[in-house]
């Protein structure tokens, strides 16, 4: 159906990943849980996931699967 779902998933998690990573780097007071800068760690995880989805969407767009 027209729209490859990997685009919205990829875009959304890349965006949220960038937001969280940025927030983790700035590290405002009270943003650390159990001595872990979880925003930074998890932001990077989300970013990697989002980018992988985007890569998949780009590659899938080039080679459309046989119907």
């Amino acid at each position: 159906m027209g729209l490859d779902i990997r685009w919205p998933i990829g875009l959304m998690f890349t965006l949220i990943g960038v937001l969280l990573t940025g927030y983790g780097v700035v590290k405002p007071a009270g943003s650390v849980s159990l001595d872990i800068n979880i925003n930074l760690v998890w932001g990077i995880v989300l970013l990697v996931f989002g980018v992988l989805m985007l890569v998949g969407a780009v590659r899938g767009g080039k080679n459309p699967p046989p119907a």
Binding site: M1, G2, L3, I5, P8, I9, L11, M12, F13, L15, I16, L19, L20, Y23, G24, P28, G30, S31, V32, S33, L34, I36, I38, N39, W42, G43, V45, L46, F49, P65, A67
Partner: protein
């Protein structure tokens, strides 16, 4: 509970998600041109997408809030809903049932019933299903609106002429409005895409909460150790009445406590009810015949994809207990560790009531124990731990406590738990700003797509199986396309009404199980006989189903769970049988309804003549359908082989947590 203080970053994530969801609806709208595009996605979606949507459709309020609640209440045994229930049923659906659903070209489960039997069976099933989806959707939205009312700082108090709108009403209507927009734009595809988005939101939003929670209790082994204390004295956490005690492994072993009998496990169920009632009747009834989930597989692009949909779904489903049940277990374990200063959240009490109770404590005479307790209970309106109140009064008399300290003491003395609040209390405890936004968005996502999933199943059944079948036949596709859209709006409005209804009850899990028991349990008997015995007749199926649903209602009216008062919880005609727990009552109800439906259908079928010829039943009944050859698939990708591998994996999980 104190409202959570949200930061700009949290709102940004929340808004981004809602924006993406509406955006998907908008993007898809231009591809949606016919009723089939809107209501069935024109059978065009790739397998991994339908597979993830398949589990997401069921990942609403029931799963996240209910499973964490049950994890705290019952421990790892809750995983039976997955490892005994869902997984075998999903494999059965893929291997044996999907060929008939997909191959018959039916657009819905009721339509299959019409092809296999007759119009009466279809009408009965579609009406029952329509009612059920509306309730399920309403329960989701009720939970979401309650959550937001307690969470967000904006409180509303609007006087709109005749109606008075509080925060609950405003949040309920806004969230329903968002769902309405994206479902109305993109139809089923929109709902399925959003469900996949939501799947990743939930996994990626809750994994860090589980990780931080486990780290805080000191790892898996420390958690299990702490849960031994819970099992030997559950009354300390107000999980069970005083004096009830279990073997130390009652919260941490999945099978041994169940094998030991209903008095030895916190669920209060016996092994037969667990394996037959839950594992066979309820789970197969839900996963194999509920159009809400089956619809996702029916939207797949070809037969192989349709059969693989439940198999793809089974892999993450098998691991979900670690994401949704373990948080509840962490919560119960934390309660036993005094330095963590955590309790399972009590029912929400208004600040005004707390203020009154604080005054009572200040004015109380430490010499008169009972008077103080009675006065505090009057002020707060919940069950209280008398000992804790007495020591609070004594502590205040000995040296003045601050209002805040007294309030905290009262909070800790409430002898009731609001289990549905468990998951949120952990998010609040462990998520700093940022991650908080992510976790809350995941929760919001699950509630909204719970509504969307039900509404998209409702509009398909209503349009094709009720409207087109009985009211307005033979109009143009344009007509049914528009009808589908109108019915979507109607479905949302009815869901809102159901949400108001649901707002009167406490544990949503039990209510949903009960409704599923009424409608779904007998249904699987009809399918089992219909698909695998060509002699089953329409009259047999109709009367069997009717009898099954009727008998479950009757069963509910004649039995009750220990500790409940006759009424909505059952036993309102007469109490003939008392079960140790509501869960046992539900499992037995399902078993009873299944057996009644199975027997009635069998006997009546033998006594009546089948109106369908073998030729008409081809593709609808197992013995008359040519076996599907999937020779183009390699050996290890054949649905039967994948199914066996998944069953073995599931058995291994059961053994690990024996």
């Amino acid at each position: 509970m104190e409202p959570i203080h949200l930061h700009k970053i949290d709102y940004t994530i929340l808004v981004a998600y809602v924006g993406f969801v509406i955006g998907i609806g908008w993007m898809l709208a231009r591809y949606v041109k016919t009723s089939s595009d809107f209501l069935t996605s024109a059978r065009s979606i790739p397998t991994w997408v339908t597979g993830l949507a398949f589990i997401s459709a069921n990942l609403g309020a029931l799963e996240l809030v209910g499973m964490a609640a049950s994890g705290a209440k019952y421990g790892i045994s809750t995983a039976h809903f997955y490892w005994v229930g869902a997984i075998p049923a999903m494999i059965f659906l893929a291997v044996f049932m999907m060929p008939f659903y997909y191959g018959s070209k039916a657009r819905s489960v009721p339509e299959y019933l019409k092809m296999r039997f007759d119009e009466r069976v279809r009408a009965l099933n579609s009406i029952a299903f329509a009612v059920m989806t509306i309730f399920a959707s309403g329960i989701s939205m009720n939970a979401l609106a309650k959550l937001l009312t307690n969470l967000l700082p904006w409180q509303f108090d609007l006087n709109a002429g005749i109606a008075h709108l509080g925060s609950y009403d405003v949040y309920l209507w806004i969230c329903s409005g968002v769902v309405l927009i994206y479902v109305l734009k993109g139809g089923l595809t929109s709902a399925i895409y959003t469900e996949v988005l939501q799947f990743f939101m939930i996994v990626l939003g809750f994994a860090p909460v589980v990780y931080l929670g486990l780290k805080d209790v000191g790892g898996w082994h420390s958690m299990n150790h702490a849960l031994q204390a819970v099992a030997t004295n559950p009354a300390a956490l107000y999980l069970k009445p005083a004096g009830v005690t279990y073997a130390p492994d009652a919260w941490t072993s999945a099978w041994q406590p169940v094998l030991a009998g209903p008095a030895h496990n916190p669920m209060g169920v016996d092994i037969f009810a667990m394996v037959f009632g839950l594992g066979f009747v309820l789970s197969f009834g839900y996963w194999c015949t509920n159009f809400l989930v089956v619809q996702r597989a029916m939207a797949a692009k070809n037969m192989a994809a349709a059969r693989n949909t439940p198999l793809v779904a089974a892999v993450p489903k098998m691991l979900f207990p670690f994401l949704v049940i373990v948080p509840g277990m962490i919560a119960a374990a934390l309660c036993t560790l005094p330095d963590k200063n955590y309790r399972i959240p009590p029912p929400i009490v208004s600040p005004a009531a707390y203020a009154r109770a604080v005054d009572v404590v200040k004015a109380a005479n430490p010499a008169d124990d009972t008077a103080a307790v009675t006065a505090v209970v009057d002020a707060l309106g919940v069950k209280m731990d008398a000992e804790k109140i007495n020591s609070l009064v004594a502590a205040n008399a000995a040296g003045k406590l601050s209002d805040e300290q007294i309030k905290q003491g009262l909070y800790n003395s409430i002898a009731e738990n609001d289990y549905d609040g468990v998951i949120l209390s952990l998010v609040k405890k462990y998520c700093p700003p940022g991650l908080m936004g992510l976790a809350l968005t995941a929760l919001l996502a699950s509630f909204m797509s719970g509504m969307a999933g039900n509404v998209t199943a409702f509009n398909t059944v209503f349009t094709y199986d009720l409207y087109q079948a009985y009211f307005v036949k033979g109009k143009s596709d344009r007509h049914y396309f528009l009808t589908g859209k109108v019915i979507t709006v109607v479905g949302i409005v009815l869901s809102i009404a159901a949400a108001y209804f649901a707002s009167r009850y406490n544990n949503c899990m039990d209510i949903i199980q009960l409704v599923f028991g009424f409608v779904n349990a007998p249904l699987f008997a009809t399918f089992l006989l219909g698909m695998f015995w060509k002699r089953t007749t329409g009259t047999g199926a109709f009367l069997g189903l009717f009898g099954g649903i009727g008998s479950s209602a009757l069963f509910h009216a004649l039995t009750i769970a220990q500790g409940n008062v006759p009424g909505i919880k059952g036993g309102y005609i007469k109490v003939l049988q008392v079960f140790p727990s509501e869960m046992a009552q539900n499992f037995w109800l399902a078993t009873f309804a299944f057996i009644v439906c199975f027997t009635l259908t069998l006997v009546i079928s033998l006594a009546t003549e089948s109106k369908k010829t073998d030729e008409e039943l081809k593709g609808l009944v197992y013995s008359l359908t040519p076996k599907i050859k999937s020779d183009n698939l390699p050996f290890f990708l054949q649905p039967g082989v994948v199914g066996i591998v998944l069953l073995i994996a599931c058995a291994i999980l059961n053994i690990i947590f024996w």
